[in-house]
Each structure stands twice: as C-alpha cells, then as structure tokens.
C-alpha cells in the first residue's frame, strides 16, 4: 500500500477527533461493551459477566496492554489555526524516527516461511465490538493479510485452521498459491462461528501439517483469538512444549483480552502477543507479522525458531511461453497446452511455477519471485533532514524534479519534530549527498527501496 493513503487514514481519524472525545459516554452501548469484556478477561471470569462489572472499573484507568498503544485520534491535535498541518507533520516525523532506528545493514531474515493461520470461529467472534463484527473484520483482514504476506514472502506457504465446536477444523491446506488460500476463506457461510474454541486441538492440527517441512524453512502459527476460554482435551502446556520442540513460532492476536496461556505461547516460542484496541490497531498487529522475521540470535530464547540450518539450493529460472505458442504436452498434467514454462535444464514444459521439474527434479522458480525480497537485504539508508543549505543548494528534488520551497516553512520550527523534519523540506542521502523532498523520502524508503541518486 502506498504510504500516502495510510496518511489519509490518519487524517480521516483526525477529522473526527472532536466527536470522539466523548466517545466512551456517547457510544456506551458499543464501546462500554468492549470494556466489559476486557474487565472479564482481567478477572479471568468464564461466564457472561454482569454489565456493572465492567462499569466498576474506572474509565480513566488504562489497562496494562492499553498503555502501550495510543489511539491515533488521541495523538492528532489541531494547531491554533485549526489546521492539521502540524499533526500530519508529526506523523511523518514519527515514521522517520522509526526508520532511523531500524538497522540499516542487511539483517538475516527468514525468507522461506510456512504459516498456519488459526482463526477463532467460536461464538465469541459474533461480538460486535469491532465493526462490523469480529468475525467479518477478521475475514476481511485475513484476506488483506494473505495478499500482502504472499507479496512479501513469495516462497512461503499458508494453511488455515478454524477453531469451533471444540475442535480444530482444517479450512485450507498449506499452499503457496494465494488464490487457493483466499478461496478457502471466501465462503462466509461455511465459516459461520459456533460453539467454543479449542487452542490445543487447533495447534496440534497445525503442528501436524507442518511436521514434514524441511529444516531450512520457518514454521509459524498465527492465532486470531476472540474467546477468553479454551476447551482442551488435555494439558495445553504439553502442546506448548511440543511447539518449542518443533521450533514453531506462535504469535497471538487477541480480540478480547490478555489470556495467560496465549502470552505464554507467544513468549516461549519467540512469537508476538498483542491485544486489539480498535480496528486499526487490529490490522497493525496482524500486519506486523507480514515482513519476513529477522533471525534473532538463538541465545535470546532457548526455544526460538531461529537456529534452523541454512542450505544452498539449486534452482532454475524458466522461460515463459505465451498462450499463442504451439501446443505441447505439459509434464505435470499431460495436457496439450500452449501456455507454460520451460525447465531451463531439460526443456520440459510445466504449467506453473514454483514447482519441481517432473523430469529432471530441478526446482523451477521465477526469478522475479525471489527478487521481491531483495529490498530487505539491501535497504536504502535513511535520509538526513537538512537544516542548513550549503553554498549552492540544488534547486530541485533529485527524485521527482519538483522545485524545493524558496524559504523555510514556518511550521518546521516546531521543536518536537525538529530532529527529523527539515524546515527546508530537504532530506539528504548520506551516500550520494543528493537532496530529496519529503514525498520522495517516504516513497524511496517505503516503496521503491532504491535511492535514485545512488544509481
């Protein structure tokens, strides 16, 4: 997604800030309901708690997991002129700071990933504290997640398991084709939430479908959990130990509240745990898991999924035949086809890549697939905000060729953002020392991943 649109979403939130100040009071039917659930979670109450239990908690008192997240409409403030200019700049500044903190050198990342997505399909997913409902929002975000995940992990595979009626339910088999995975969750009626979830059954099922994987690939489980209980046939801690043994990284996104076992699952396997605050935060938590995880040193966690062995693999890059080419038998289905790919070693025609050639066994991948992850290996160094122009500043941005403003902008003098926001609107590449505008800075680092000046 281009960053600009994300900014737009923030601006949108900001626009409604005046109405949402009294959000808790006005929209009590909905928001209060969510608080009630959180109250329940804290108390580890299993039954349907009474309304006043949640109400009893002071509204001002933030829960531990709430403290770490600030709602975007709380942070956006209009300036004296009622304009959002400062707010927008502040958001840009935060993005820039985040980028400066990121390691600029190439870090080792796990590229060949296997992920089991565990969706809670219990009746708790019918709750409407997330709009339109937990269930519908989860399906929508899952779709977006799958598309984005395959975009960044082209050699990865995703499988889907549902949790409902106390059982684990295989919804989509492990597949490297995004269309297959999307199809598995396309039928909303087939996934209708019902009954109680079972973490243990679902995790064991996911574990089973990942047992055959080669050692150099990662195994991950992402649990979307709306319930506050789990009904398990045995001891869930045995399952946790098995996950640690199998080097499976378990991450949990909880829609309701923190459950001890969920946090333990994530912490002990090197995964991430988060409790959803609102719709945007839900997406943020989920999409944190999209980029290939950096390989942390194995010492950080004894049971992390980090110390799998690396390997060198021989792969072939095929030639694609257009559908207008003469018909030929494909080796995978023995069908007469024009369209297809030619194995570079034995010239056999296969229908789709990536695959292993049925004739010579060579792994055939399309090289653009591999190249999608290269921007992780060679990131562009963050640009530095320019505070003083030299003797002869370049009149135009080196990227888009738009002219720089003649004189410094007034808002740029804000001391809170002065370290990362240039009052001149200039950002300089430390390598080629060319100046870029703010738009190009964001575009180069978030989308392009190539410095136009260094080329």
């Amino acid at each position: 997604m281009p960053p600009r649109r994300r900014d737009g979403a923030y601006v949108h939130n900001a626009g409604t800030s005046s109405e949402s100040e009294g959000f808790d009071d006005i929209d009590d039917g909905n928001y209060g309901d969510k608080r009630k659930n959180k109250g329940k979670g804290k108390a580890k109450d299993t039954g349907k708690g009474s309304q006043d239990k949640g109400k009893g908690k002071s509204k001002e008192q933030a829960y531990a997991w709430e403290a770490t997240y600030t709602r975007s409409w709380d942070t956006v403030q209009e300036d004296e002129g009622g304009s959002l200019q400062t707010a927008v700049e502040d958001l840009l500044a935060r993005g820039r700071r985040r980028r400066l903190l990121e390691p600029s050198s190439a870090i080792r990342r796990t590229i060949i990933r296997h992920l089991m997505l565990l969706l809670d399909l219990s009746s708790s997913m019918l709750d409407r504290d997330l709009r339109p409902s937990r269930f519908d929002l989860t399906l929508e975000y899952s779709r977006q997640f799958i598309v984005e995940w395959f975009d960044q992990n082209p050699l990865g595979q995703i499988g889907i398991v549902g949790m409902r009626g106390g059982l684990g339910e295989r919804i989509g088999d492990m597949s490297g084709n995004p269309q297959d995975v999307l199809k598995a969750i396309s039928d909303r009626r087939r996934l209708q939430p019902d009954g109680d979830p079972s973490l243990q059954n679902a995790i064991d099922m996911a574990r089973g479908s990942m047992s055959h994987l080669p050692t150099h690939s990662s195994r991950e489980i992402l649990i979307i959990y709306g319930s506050l209980t789990t009904c398990d046939p045995g001891n869930i801690h045995d399952t946790l130990d098995a996950c640690i043994n199998d080097k499976i990284r378990v991450s949990v996104v909880s829609l309701a509240a923190e459950m001890k076992i969920c946090r333990e699952l994530a912490n002990k396997t090197g995964g991430v745990f988060g409790v959803v605050m609102n719709e945007d935060h839900y997406k943020e938590l989920m999409f944190e898991l999209v980029p290939p995880p950096a390989q942390r040193s194995a010492s950080r966690l004894t049971g992390g999924s980090t110390n799998f062995s690396a390997d060198l693999m021989m792969m072939g890059f095929p030639t694609r035949l257009p559908d207008t080419s003469p018909l030929s038998l494909c080796v995978c289905h023995s069908q007469l086809k024009g369209e297809g790919f030619l194995c570079p070693r034995c010239k056999a025609q296969v229908c789709d890549v990536p695959t292993d050639c049925d004739i010579c066994g060579l792994m055939i991948v399309s090289s653009p697939h591999l190249a999608r992850s290269y921007h992780h290996l060679f990131p562009v160094k963050p640009y530095q905000a320019v505070t003083e122009t030299g003797l002869s500043p370049s009149p135009k941005c080196h990227g888009c060729s738009h002219s720089f403003p003649e004189k410094p902008s007034a808002t740029g003098s804000d001391p809170t953002t002065a370290d990362v926001i240039s009052p001149l609107g200039r950002y300089r590449c430390p390598d080629c020392e060319k100046d870029f505008c703010a738009d190009c800075d964001v575009f180069v680092h978030d989308v392009l991943h190539v410095c136009p000046g260094c080329q």
């Binding site: 021989m314 792969m315 030639t319 030929s328 653009p368």
Partner: protein, 322 residues
C-alpha cells in the same frame, strides 16, 4: 472531446530515452539493414509526443534521458518554459506554440547533455535504472498529491501514468536488484512499463519489466517505420489497448543476474536464508554470511551442469527447441 473522455483520467507519459553515444553510433552505421540515426529518431519521437499531447488537452509528459553514468529529467509538462531568444523565424509562424516550445526545449537539452559528455576511452554504464527510479518518483508525486497541501484547492484527477523506455544498450546486469525493485514499485503504483528496443539484442530484464507491469515489449522489425510502431503500439492508453490487437510478447525469459559476477544465468544456487543468487556453489553466502553445509556443497558440485551450458553462452539462442 468533452463528453467521451471527461470521465476518464488524463494520460501521463514518462519517456526514458537511452542516449548511449556508442550504441547510437552503431545504430546509425550503414551496415545495418535499416540504419537509424539519433537525429531521425528524435524527430519521430517529437511527432509522437505531440500526438500524445494533442489527443487530449490535459495529457502530460515527462522526458528523461539516460547517459553513461548519468540521468536527467530534461522536460516535464509542469515546467514553465521561458520563451527564449529564437523569436519569429518565418517558418514557425504556423506551428502550435506549446508544441514548438516543447520540441525546441527537448532538442536543446538533448544537445546540451550530449555535448557535456566526456569522450573517455570506455563508456560508463548507462544510467537507465536511475532514470526509471526518477520517473517513478515523479509519477508518485503526480498520482499522490501531497496531503498537507491546501485542502481548499480541488485536487485535479490524478492522471493515468505509464512509462515508455527506448532502449539501445544491452542488459545492465549490475543494476539487477535496483531494476527489479523499480519494477515492483511500478506494479504498486499501477504504472505500465512499455519498452521499445531500438537497437541490439533483446534485453532480458526489460522484457521482464514489461511483462510484470502489463506493458508492451516491442522490437520493431522495420526500424525505418518507427513512427508507425509508436503511433500504433504506444499512443493508445493501456485501457484502449485491451480492445486493440497489440503485439504480444513472445517468450519471456525469467533469467536472473548472479550476485557474485553479475552474470545472467538460468540455473543458480540460492541461499535459503536470504535468497541471494550465485552462479556456482559457494561455501559462505556473501550477502548474509551464512555458512552452508559441506555435504550440500559436495552434492551440488557433483550435479553441477558443465559451466559452458550455463550463463552467457545461451544468450544467443533464446528460442528453445520444442
């Protein structure tokens, strides 16, 4: 022009011209079946650009040139052209002023850039990928107008962008990764990259660029009829192309460049951690410093195809036997 096109966005065309002096010299030699000189080419491109601008009043262009070790944007529709000295020659009294201004600006800047080239022994690599990244930055600014701009001014409909590359140089395998990153950004911006290969052999990576972004890759059979190709293939927008019969790309070659020698290879050795590509089995990945097991190396060395069947040797015969 009012009713039929007003609901569709205007078209923006970013032109990238490869101005390698060596390649253009070779292209103009009489030993070619149809010699094409830079002068002749530029004059046809100007007609094409005028046609693009004339087909709709709010169509825009940007022209970038790639030179050895350098790239510049020499013209953009948003530039204001200062009316320069050469006023009122009689033969220009019948021309449409904006076209004349653009034509002379483009020609003048190309002359300047070529004149500023140093005549060294060897030519530095062409800055084609740099030009592509700049074109993408420019398009990003056009299609995503700054949010902090004054909201009271109505933002005009962002144009429908595409890029057309005129290539005369061979593949630049040194810029493989930046080029691929540019292609993926073009996909994200929904920019089609068209390629017109004017001289020399097909380039694998530009073929991939056109294929992956939904653009056209055209290698004109008759270079003397270039304007015809330009008008028929590259003038229609991507939306109109769907209903026209467009030349389809023949085989697309998905070969890649190895990280170690920048050779273009069809069978490579891939690091499972970072997916770096090597042309021969290596004990340690040079990108991520991963050490590979000895066993794997021994196995791969045994199965290794003979070095001759790999790499450059196949470039001459892209069409495999079927």
């Amino acid at each position: 022009m009012e009713t039929t096109v007003s609901d569709s966005p205007p078209e923006h065309l970013s032109l990238i011209i490869d101005l390698s002096p060596t390649q253009w010299h070779l292209s103009s030699l009489d030993t070619n079946p149809q010699p094409l000189s830079l002068r002749l080419f530029i004059s046809q491109v100007l007609v094409f650009l005028n046609a693009h601008l004339a087909s709709r009043h709010d169509n825009t262009i940007a022209v970038l040139v790639a030179l050895p070790g350098k790239n510049v944007m020499i013209y953009s529709s948003s530039d204001t052209i200062e009316e320069s000295d050469h006023q009122s020659p009689l033969d220009e009294s019948n021309t449409y002023q904006p076209f004349r201004a653009m034509n002379s600006a483009v020609v003048q800047r190309i002359d300047e850039e070529l004149g500023a080239q140093e005549h060294g022994e060897t030519e530095a690599p062409i800055g084609l990928v740099g030009a592509l990244t700049k074109a993408l930055c420019h398009i990003n600014r056009l299609t995503h107008p700054t949010a902090s701009a004054n909201p009271s001014i109505a933002v005009p409909t962002p144009p429908n962008p595409r890029i057309l590359i005129f290539s005369v140089s061979p593949d630049l395998s040194t810029a493989y990764i930046p080029l691929m990153n540019s292609i993926f950004s073009a996909q994200k911006l929904k920019v089609a990259i068209d390629v017109c290969k004017l001289y020399g052999e097909d380039t694998v990576f530009l073929q991939q660029a056109a294929h992956l972004t939904g653009g056209l890759y055209v290698n004109p059979e008759r270079r003397d009829a270039l304007l015809q190709y330009l008008a028929m293939c590259f003038l229609p927008s991507t939306a109109i192309r769907r209903v026209l019969g467009m030349p389809t790309q023949d085989h697309v070659d998905f070969r890649a460049a190895c990280f170690c020698h920048k050779n273009i290879i069809d069978i490579g050795y891939i690091c499972s951690v970072c997916l770096s590509i090597f042309c021969s089995p290596v004990p340690v990945c040079s990108t991520c410093r991963t050490k590979f097991p000895i066993k794997t190396l021994q196995r791969l060395m045994l199965n290794r195809p003979s070095p001759l069947s790999n790499g450059h040797q196949r470039t001459a015969s892209p069409a495999p036997q079927r």
